[in-house]
């Protein structure tokens, strides 16, 4: 399947008038005929859009998983829906990093919790000392 929007040079969300203008301005007669038959009929465009969205998502997935040259990704589909390989965004690495951060945060929390009784005792001592000094100064 070809990406008619890409080949016409319009956005997939474009309205009918924009698409009509783009079809009129198209040089390739075969593409012009196909685009007119598919995109200017409401029901056909809806079905086409469903598959177009799916293939865009699959192209993105393949780019991120390093499968842009898979043996099953062929022809006009591979030609039109492939994106540049994007291995930087690995969700698994992201999850591991998040997990690490969560573990570190938890460790910090437990350390503070262990110190909590001593902090309470220190606070009480300070208050008691302050009260004692204030009593001496007044009396």
């Amino acid at each position: 399947m070809r990406d008619l929007y890409k080949r016409l040079g319009v956005e997939p969300t474009a309205d009918d008038t924009t698409i009509g203008a783009a079809i009129d301005a198209c040089d390739n007669s075969a593409l012009k005929a196909d685009a007119a038959a598919v995109l200017s009929v409401g029901a056909r465009r809806e079905a086409y859009d469903g598959l177009h969205g799916m293939l865009s998502e699959l192209g993105r997935l393949r780019a991120r998983l390093g499968l842009t040259h898979g043996a099953h990704w062929l022809g006009s589909v591979a030609n039109d829906f492939s994106l540049a390989p994007d291995l930087a965004q690995s969700r698994h690495d992201e999850l591991v990093a998040k997990l690490d951060a969560a573990v570190v945060g938890q460790a910090r929390l437990t350390r503070w919790r262990r110190l909590l009784p001593w902090l309470i005792i220190a606070g009480f001592t300070l208050i008691a000392a302050g009260g004692f000094l204030a009593g001496r100064w007044l009396g």
Binding site: D3, A33, G50, M54, L55, E57, L58, L61, R91
Partner: protein
């Protein structure tokens, strides 16, 4: 507080007893959802498949995530699968995915792309994947349809027109058959009525003869016996009884029992995992059994 930063699927994955199985189930749910219309049977099938996985949590949240087309979750699942399942156990998984995708007889274009993506993900070569598809679905894997072409839509509308014409013709045929059956029934009724009348006249004449010979007592006995004996089952009820594996002496409870037993052994749901063709033949058999049962149940002889 900490968990708020994890997405629902990440939480499920962390809670899971087996991360690979959770990821595989999410991808199966995605295959099911990308079919467009999810049938209750598909859900049931996925549940039976899930019984073989060691994920240890509910299936419903996974279906929800897949239904929302959460691509980051699907990417994460694909990464987990790619890491753990390279060339190992990938065939059973692909088999299940193909079974889910073709459960209603045809393969939607979006599902075709999804299956090809999964095959690439698991490193299954096209030839091996085509063979696997042939085995599971019972027909060859076609290249996905191309709705960006005008002739795709023309041929599609053409076949739809033909289909509707064929359906109309079938409807007309059925109408004609019903009429024929009705007239035949009427003829048969008239004939039966005529026979009954003749029979009664005959009997009356006989009774008169008996009266004349003062054999009243014995004749009354014979009459009583004659009335208690049920009429022999007709041709069609006999055939229906044969379908259920019974003979002419069967009672209503026999019929019910036989029907329950046969319905259980021939129910199409039992052949779900055996492929499309087995399921189709099973549903034919089941239909025949059901028709026979329904016919016998409305038969006056067995009430």
């Amino acid at each position: 507080m900490v968990s708020a930063r994890f997405s629902p699927f990440e939480l499920l994955l962390l809670k899971s007893r087996n991360q690979t199985d959770t990821a595989a189930l999410l991808l199966l749910a995605w295959v099911m959802v990308s079919k467009g219309n999810v049938l209750p049977e598909d859900k049931h099938y996925l549940e039976t498949l899930a019984a073989g996985f060691r994920h240890g949590h509910d299936l419903a949240p996974l279906i929800e995530i897949a239904g929302a087309q959460d691509m980051s979750a699907i990417q994460l699942a694909a990464e987990v699968l790619q890491k753990d399942w390279w060339n190992e156990q990938s065939f059973p998984f692909l088999r299940q995915a193909i079974g889910l995708a073709t459960s209603n007889g045809q393969l939607a274009a979006s599902n075709n792309h999804v299956l090809r993506f999964l095959a690439d993900l698991l490193g299954v070569a096209p030839a091996a994947f085509a063979q696997l598809f042939q085995e599971v679905a019972g027909r060859a894997l076609e290249s996905p349809e191309d709705p960006s072409r005008a002739d795709y839509w023309q041929s599609r509308e053409h076949t739809r027109q033909q289909q509707s014409q064929r359906e109309q013709a079938r409807e007309r045929e059925r109408e004609r058959e019903r009429e024929q059956q009705y007239s035949r029934q009427r003829q048969r009724d008239e004939q039966a009525e005529r026979q009954r009348r003749e029979h009664e006249e005959h009997r009356e004449r006989e009774e008169h003869a008996y009266q004349r010979h003062s054999y009243r007592q014995g004749a009354g006995d014979r009459d009583e016996r004659y009335r208690n004996d049920p009429p022999p089952p007709g041709d069609r009820s006999l055939r229906a009884l044969h379908v259920l594996g019974l003979d002419a002496k069967a009672t209503r409870s026999d019929i019910k029992k036989a029907y329950r037993r046969l319905a259980q052994t021939h129910h199409p749901d039992r052949f779900y995992s055996h492929g499309e063709r087995r399921m189709a033949t099973a549903s034919q058999r089941f239909q025949r059994i059901k028709n026979a049962y329904e016919y016998l149940m409305q038969d006056a002889r067995f009430v």
